[in-house]
Symmetry: C2
Subunit: 194 residues, 2 copies
């Protein structure tokens, strides 16, 4: 399990043998049952999780449920707004499947940044990657139709179409479940004809 | 002009006197006439600009014009997707006013990261801030009405309402100019009555 994390970090920086031991000591494996919360609205986000197995959704739960992001294997999971500013989260992070994560506290993350020789660089590169993905998501809202967004979703996460309930995929696409059904029907019909 | 940049960087890290000299040597002041491009669609983004004076818009110019972000004083300006991956930009960055920036090349930015003792940390903290803002923008799409987005825009950038043409503000809010007129009319009427 820890090797997956070390492999991920090694994509960004070079880590020495003794640094691997330090990194391992800073994370703690945690298991979350299906349907449980990694972070509840109103609580302060105190950990970043590296998702080993499972699936989480990032939601805003008001009068309506808005699913605005999700987290899959080999990704960090966190509401960084709450985590970095130490303020109550206005969003929740829920485990759609039984989920296993390696978790690191705010304090231990600072240790990682400061005691691993390229720790800050790792933090910069991961933050840059998160920012780039967020920019892609924002611009997609401006230029893509819901159908194009669904096609991109399928292309980027082919397995999620089975793992996430359709009403949550519709929420992520910001359309009604009936509209998603119509899009799926149209796409299936076209596939069938070509 | 350089002092503004040093003040900005000092919000994130501690810099020594000789590091200030190094930072100053890595940036170059550039002036862009009103209406000119800082980055044109199709070109590779080769510089990050720190905006000293002026106003830029981030646009996708296809059949329709989509303004998805803007840059004001005391902010870095860049299409990071193109800059970091060294691929042609699918967006453009245009100067709506005469704009003055301190520009740093990709190569000089790596020098800054590696030769300023807290350079990587600065990069991490600025990337985190950019990512947090992008997350706020994404979630606003899900939960806010166009009227609420306009109110937030006015609250966060009170002067931009005068500096940006209304059709560009409408594009940023992802509504038609006529809809923005109606929102403004309704808000003005309410202000007048209360």
């Amino acid at each position: 399990m820890l090797q997956t994390l070390i492999d991920y970090i090694s994509r960004f920086i070079t880590i020495e043998e003794e640094e691997i031991k330090l990194i391992e000591s800073l994370f703690q494996a945690k298991s979350y049952p299906k349907g449980s919360y990694f972070l509840q609205e109103g609580a302060v986000s105190k950990e970043v999780g590296f998702l080993i197995e499972g699936l989480v959704t990032y939601c805003i739960e008001g009068d309506d449920l808005h699913l605005y992001n999700f987290g899959v294997e080999n990704n960090f999971v966190c509401n960084y707004e709450s985590f970095l500013t130490k303020t109550p989260s206005s969003k929740s992070i829920k485990c759609v499947e039984k989920t296993v994560m390696l978790c690191i506290s705010y304090e231990n993350l600072q240790v990682l940044y400061n005691r691993v020789s390229e720790g800050q660089k790792m933090g910069r590169l991961i933050s840059e990657e998160l920012f780039l993905q967020a920019t892609v998501d924002i611009t997609s809202f401006y230029v893509d139709t819901p159908e194009q967004r669904y096609q991109k979703f399928l292309a980027e996460h082919p397995l999620l179409n089975q793992r996430l309930p359709q009403y949550l995929i519709a929420s992520y696409l910001k359309i009604k479940p009936q509209s998603l059904s119509r899009i799926r029907h149209r796409m299936f019909k076209n596939d069938f004809l070509t």
